[in-house]
Amino acid sequence: MKFLAGTLAAVAAFSFGAITPALAQNPANASKTLEQVKARGVLACGSNPGLAGFGIPDEKGVWTGLDVDLCRAIAAAIFNDPNKVRFVPLTAKDRFTALQSGEIDVLSRNGTWTKLRETELGLLWTGVNYYDGQGFMVRKKLNVNSALELSGASICVQQGTTTELNLADFFRTNNMKYEGIAFATSAEAVKAYDAGRCDAYTTDASGLYGERLRLVNPDEHVILPEVISKEPLGPTVRQGDDQWFNLVKWVHFAKLNAEELGVTRANVDERLKSTNPEIRRLLGVEGDFGKPMGLTPDWAYRVIKHVGNYGEVFHRNVGDGSRLKIRRGLNNLWNKGGIMYAPPIR
């Protein structure tokens, strides 16, 4: 027995000895991500294994969603082919390891940008492609128009989540009373809400729209405009490869700028002849803004041609063009009441 314990200890010491250097050095020799992607001929994109509207395979196995389309846009910018992406479905637990170990090039999987994740895990969020936050769903017949009118309401919530804590904070800050009814899983909480056990159901707003579809009569329910917590979701890359970081970041900004300038998938070819200097710079007619990122001058043209601008992607995957019908809200452009704002290309 002693011998066995000794061997185990030796095995453990050996494995941990092996881990430390691997973690200490920056894995996958960073600054070369773009070269690796080009050599491989395909972008490895970490995606959610199944989140309606953000990343989910359809019955043909084709991935659809807002997050997934960002990876397609990156592939379009690099290869001029949005299909040169290998989607690696990752669970919440192994998503960051897969990025750290170099198994994927970019993680676009509704990951919330937090301080610790960025500073402790050696990751960088290149921006926010969806501003999420906790919201409320109520029955239309209650005639509630704002979360501030929910005083005294009973609210279904999933147990032991930050959702539950945010709920308590919100009602305490606003001096309102509520009766929280907690359930072990979100499915149970939704079922209880649908059965009429609570007046409202709360979770992240993006999830609320998906859950609403599973109710018996989705049209009888409404999602209140308030968002009571900050959940900025965005694509993530490894630290130490600034060129790659810029590439991912500017592909997203190009989609935002295109929407702002009214360049769409349909009119992008015609806009090549535009006299607007901003559009000319965006589409690569003037200047070479792709070169510093290791791309061709028409990188943004390719993104818009193959995937579309941010508004189109939003509309198609989660907005009115989809069954989710999520309102733009915070995710609207800065000049249309939202906070989506991209620096200029010049």
């Binding site: 509207g53 395979p57 359809d58 043909k60 196995g61 669970t91 198994e103 998906g210 989809s322 069954r323």
Partner: protein
């Protein structure tokens, strides 16, 4: 006394026909009395079961069959109030449930692989089949190679080999084949029933020989072999399968360089196979312990070598004894394959679980329908395995019946 036997007296030559049992013990009524109302406990249980069936069946039948939606272009028909199971959804998603994201124009590769596998399995499992040795070689050596080539694509070595053959013979069609046939389909596209079967088959096929080897090794007289087997068995058995999968998935890529990282599907495959093997080893050890000492001694007295003794005398008896245990492990393994979902593999259950969220279909009855379908699938397979093992047990236990 002698005149009591008179020659003219009647002597009955044949037995009279036996009278039939009383009507209460006969026919359907008798069967019911004997089997359903044999005693107060039996009668109570019968009434309880019938009541339960009467209570459940109409609702179930209505939900599963009568109110069910059998065909619809999208989820709207299934969302109407009062509808039952949404089989239209299962029909629409059946390809995804079966093949995952495997390219739709290459599904024949999966079909062919499954077909060959099924044919070989029938050959090996059919008790009266001939030349099982050849079947075993085909199944264990040739089939894995052909299977990988069909499913994953032709490897560079095979391609190179084909190309050189084409150059030698000058055949243009062979050269084309070397260049284009069976393009690689990455495992990230694999999924559905086909992956569940793959994981289970690999687990079963690896675990039986490896398990027997580990069980024999654990009894070995060579201390190094014995020690190694004991450590492997106890360590792997001492951790949950989930932990093994997580270790393989999240820790392994950190130890090894990025381009050496094993494939994402290969990792859980190795984990599951290893895990199944050590459980098998313990089952087989139980069988070995059940073989009486006299059998070993008799074999040694006949002058058999260690391996021949094991092969001819001990293992056949030991394995026959533990057939229920082996099949039990296989059934558990088959259901455990669903655990690979937590490391991001789209096995059958995961495929069902993902597709129920599809906004086109999602609705109040979709999740239940999907899970009922999954339950039926797993039941059919596990029940089939269990029946097969019962049959084999009966056949193989002839020798031990007295």
């Amino acid at each position: 006394m002698t005149d009591a036997i008179s020659t003219g007296a009647f002597v009955r030559r044949a037995f009279s026909e036996p009278l039939p049992p009383p009507p209460s013990e006969r026919g359907a009524l008798g069967w019911v009395r004997a089997n359903l109302f044999g005693g107060p406990l039996s009668a109570a249980l019968t009434i309880l079961s019938v009541a339960l069936l009467v209570w459940m069946t109409p609702g179930l039948v209505r939900w599963l069959l009568i109110d069910a939606v059998w065909s619809a272009p999208d989820g709207d028909a299934c969302r109407q109030a009062g509808t039952g199971a949404c089989w239209a959804y299962v029909r629409a998603k059946l390809l995804f449930f079966t093949y995952g994201s495997y390219p739709r124009d290459m599904l024949w590769r999966v079909d062919l692989t499954l077909l060959i596998g099924a044919a070989l399995a029938v050959w090996l499992l059919w008790p009266d089949a001939k030349r099982k040795g050849l079947g075993l070689v085909l199944f264990l050596v040739v089939y894995p190679y052909v299977g990988v080539m069909l499913l994953h694509g032709m490897g560079d070595v095979t391609r190179g080999l084909l190309a050189s053959v084409a150059r030698l013979t000058g055949s243009q069609s062979l050269a084309d084949m070397a260049a284009n046939a069976l393009p690689v389909v990455g495992t990230h596209l694999w999924g559905g029933i086909f992956v569940s079967l793959l994981v289970a088959t690999v687990g079963i096929v690896v675990s039986l020989p490896l398990g027997v080897a580990l069980a024999l090794g654990r009894q070995s007289k060579a201390p190094v072999v014995r020690f190694f087997c004991i450590v492997l068995i106890e360590v792997v058995r001492g951790v949950p399968l989930i932990t093994v999968l997580f270790m393989a998935n999240t820790m392994l890529p950190l130890f090894v360089p990025a381009n050496w990282t094993p494939d994402r599907l290969l990792r859980p495959l190795i984990g599951v196979a290893l895990f199944a093997s050590v459980y098998m080893a313990e089952v087989v050890r139980g069988g070995l312990a059940a073989v009486p000492r006299g059998q070993y001694e008799g074999a040694m007295a006949l002058g058999l070598s260690h391996w021949r003794m094991m092969r001819l005398i001990v293992l056949p008896q030991a394995l026959t004894v533990v057939i229920p245990g082996i099949v039990n492990s296989f059934i558990a393994l088959f259901k455990d394959t669903t655990l690979v979902a937590i490391v991001g593999i789209f096995d059958f259950l995961r495929a069902v679980d993902t597709q129920r969220l599809d906004p086109t279909w999602t609705g109040p009855t979709i999740s239940t329908t999907g899970y009922v379908f999954a339950a039926a699938f797993y039941f059919v397979f596990c029940f089939g395995m269990s029946r097969y093992s019962l049959m084999m047990e009966r056949r193989l236990s002839y020798g031990r019946k007295h």
